[in-house]
């Protein structure tokens, strides 16, 4: 009897767990068949959950102090931000799929190619929705950097949000001739040991992709679908190279920083002399804030660096797709994109084609002053590499750990 007593609640509870189906599936009408007016008719008073990378104070400030109040004021939408990126987003949506959750945790996700690839693998995105957005008329979908994400056609499944190029950064007061290729980098770290490292995050992997392209012998070396054979050959050389020079890295290459923000701090206090970043190096705001010395400069890598767009997607099980569309459309509006360009703020390149804009906006965009310390993306034209297929990134992540960090 006692044993039974013991077991019954256990079984009951297990059944409760598995039968409780969370099926609050509010039937959302087929939005894609509706007009924009019909879609946005009912979004007032709703909540939209936006999951994004929250590692940058400028971006957080833009979102929290501009976007959130603006959508509240304009559309009466409560925009709630939560932290999460890349694999975390994929895993969340994947687990929701596994648990048959029909009304998911998030309505908008900020992603790029490798997350897009993984979300497509599990059919985690809803769409195609981009052409539904009125503001998409200002976007040039013929631009390969916009319509192709990590060698994959976008097909309206994610809306481009901004575009930028990865670039190298150095402190001109300390380094006269920054290295522009792998050979020079090797000579550089030997001359200035401890002043360079690679972060074990998205930015660091982007740098490794640039290196991999250089080893392949051409900026276009990694174009096309993923090739195991090519990857094996090139990555072997890459790991050999890095392991050979890592004793001259920060902390003798025994450990690597987890986040690029940490590298920024180290660049700021003079531990590192060489850096890198998205947004054409991402130095402008940091110099203006006094974090980086005014001697900080951006420069082009001989073989070129990655240029890419980043995107906004809507998960397949979003509970408020209409609201998500409304918010994304706002994020693509000239107003929001102009604010995003603010040199003292996020300082991001607009995704919109300025020529397509109404005249008054066109003038405003053209009047944005040039960067004082950084460069324009156009200055790096000819030194740009399109993102290689997402598998390269996924493999580099894995093997940077097994082949370099753990060795």
């Amino acid at each position: 009897m006692l044993k039974l007593n013991f077991l019954v609640p256990f079984i009951v509870a297990l059944c409760a767990f598995s039968s409780c189906q969370n099926n609050t599936s509010e039937d959302q009408p087929d939005l894609l068949a509706q007009s924009w007016e019909e879609i946005t008719d009912s979004t007032a008073g709703t909540t939209v959950n936006f999951m994004m990378w929250q590692g940058s104070p400028e971006i957080n400030n833009y979102i929290n102090n501009y976007v959130v109040p603006s959508v509240k004021e304009k559309y009466n939408i409560d925009l709630k931000i939560s932290g999460g990126q890349g694999a975390e987003i994929v895993q969340l949506i994947m687990s929701e799929k596994q648990a048959d959750v029909n009304r998911g945790q998030v309505d908008i996700v900020w992603i790029n190619g490798e997350t897009f690839f993984q979300l497509n693998q599990i059919k985690g995105l809803w769409g195609p929705f981009v052409k539904k957005l009125p503001n998409s008329e200002y976007i040039d979908f013929n631009d390969p950097y916009i319509e192709t994400d990590f060698q994959q056609p976008v097909n309206g499944m994610e809306a481009p949000w901004s575009i930028s190029q990865f670039a190298m950064v150095y402190d001109s007061a300390k380094v006269a001739y920054p290295p522009k290729n792998l050979q020079e980098l090797e000579a550089y770290v030997k001359e200035h040991p401890g002043t360079f490292t690679i972060s074990n995050d998205f930015s660091g992997m982007t740098l490794l992709k640039c290196f991999l392209a250089e080893i392949s012998g051409s900026p276009k070396g990694l174009n096309g679908p993923f090739s195991e054979e090519k990857y094996e050959k090139l990555s072997d050389q890459l790991w050999d190279y890095i392991n050979r020079i890592k004793p001259y890295f920060w902390k003798q290459g025994t450990t690597f920083p987890k986040e690029a923000t940490k590298m920024d701090q180290m660049f700021a206090n003079g531990e590192l002399w060489l850096g890198y970043g998205y947004g054409e190096g991402g130095i402008e705001d940091k110099v203006l804030q006094g974090l980086f010395p005014t001697s900080t400069r951006v420069y082009a890598w001989d073989n070129g660096t990655i240029r890419n767009a980043n995107y906004l997607g809507i998960p397949y099980n979003s509970g408020n797709k209409a609201g998500a569309l409304q918010v994304i459309n706002f994020l693509l509006s000239p107003e929001a994109q102009f604010k995003k360009m603010d040199p003292e703020g996020m300082n991001a390149n607009t995704i919109l084609t300025v020529e397509k804009l109404p005249k008054d906006w066109k003038e405003k965009f053209e009047s944005v002053p040039d960067r004082k310390y950084g460069v324009k993306m156009a200055d790096l034209d000819g030194k740009d590499i399109p993102e290689p297929a997402p598998e390269y990134m996924i493999r580099l992540y894995e093997e940077f750990r097994t082949e370099v960090i753990e060795k």
């Binding site: 694999a87 994947m94 596994q98």
Partner: protein, 284 residues
């Protein structure tokens, strides 16, 4: 009626105290063998083989155990020394309040604070610079995110010492060690003998279960090594969570393998500890 009520409470106890643990464990076990999980295709022992042969997990286990053991030993010794030397002073009004203050500091804050003090651009590095001991930030010694886990150990110690200090002071009072010591001294014991034969054994006998429990807590600590640790080897919880959240979806099961091994180890420790504790309770 009375019987029924007791059955309901036992059922409720099992629902909140046992079912979640069992469910989590079974789920992790199934996942580790590839039976559940979106990208998994069915039963396989491949993930177990990978984890066991790669050695990264066991390295992390040994690393965590070493850090936890070192931290507990240093903390307990410090706390014992403070207790035996300063118990009278620490009983006074002001100090007796002050020594409770560290309990208000959680791991996250302790780690943040350590980082602010000991990093290469931290407070001590600035002082060293002002005194001209270092010329640049990078010459300051590695104290956080370092190979030797110095930052983690220092933080563990600062978090754990206050707890043990309060514990030992309490035991000292409750177990009437003062009286015992005076008694044995009057019977001719030397101060050293009193220390080694009376005070220490009584305190440690009364508290060793908690000491081992703290070792287990530190073994599974998360926030502090997350902020102050390095990329490899990582402490257990950090490693497990990283593997569960990694990019390569096909390898998530390896994280569950690690979680299962860790859970089993800790549970076995609990069984052993608890049965010992029961014995002590009976003796007392």
């Amino acid at each position: 009626m009375k019987r029924k009520r007791s059955t309901i409470s036992i059922a409720f106890f099992i629902l909140v105290g046992v079912v979640p643990f069992a469910a989590a464990f079974i789920y992790a076990l199934l996942y580790s063998f590839g039976i559940v999980g979106v990208v998994n295709t069915g039963f396989t022992t491949q993930f177990w083989e990978t984890v066991i042969t790669s050695g990264e997990f066991f390295k992390s286990f040994a690393y965590s155990a070493l850090i936890a053991a070192l931290s507990v030993i240093i903390s307990v010794s410090t706390a014992l020394w403070l207790t035996l030397k300063f118990r009278k002073e620490l009983d006074k009004k002001f100090l007796s309040y002050i020594i409770y203050l560290p309990l208000a500091i959680p791991g996250v804050v302790a780690a943040f604070f350590t980082y602010q003090l000991l990093s290469k651009s931290g407070f001590f590095s600035r002082i060293a610079y002002q005194f001209g001991w270092i010329q640049e930030a990078r010459f300051f010694p590695d104290l956080v995110n370092d190979q030797m886990a110095i930052g983690i150990i220092i933080t563990f110690i600062t978090v754990v010492v206050p707890f043990f200090l309060l514990l030992f002071l309490n035991v000292y009072k409750n177990e009437r060690i003062q009286e015992l010591s005076e008694l044995s001294a009057s019977l001719g014991a030397k101060p050293n003998q009193v220390l080694w034969r009376i005070s220490l054994p009584v305190i440690l006998h009364k508290t060793w279960v908690l000491i081992v429990l703290y070792f287990i807590f530190l073994l599974g600590a998360y926030e502090i090594p997350l902020i102050l640790g390095q990329e490899s080897p990582q402490m257990l919880s950090v490693l497990i969570i990283r593997e569960l959240k990694q990019y390569d979806l096909s390898k998530i099961s390896e994280g569950y393998v690690a979680a299962v091994i860790y859970t089993v180890t800790v549970s076995v420790a609990a069984v052993i500890l608890f049965s010992k504790r029961k014995r002590i309770a009976h003796e007392a």
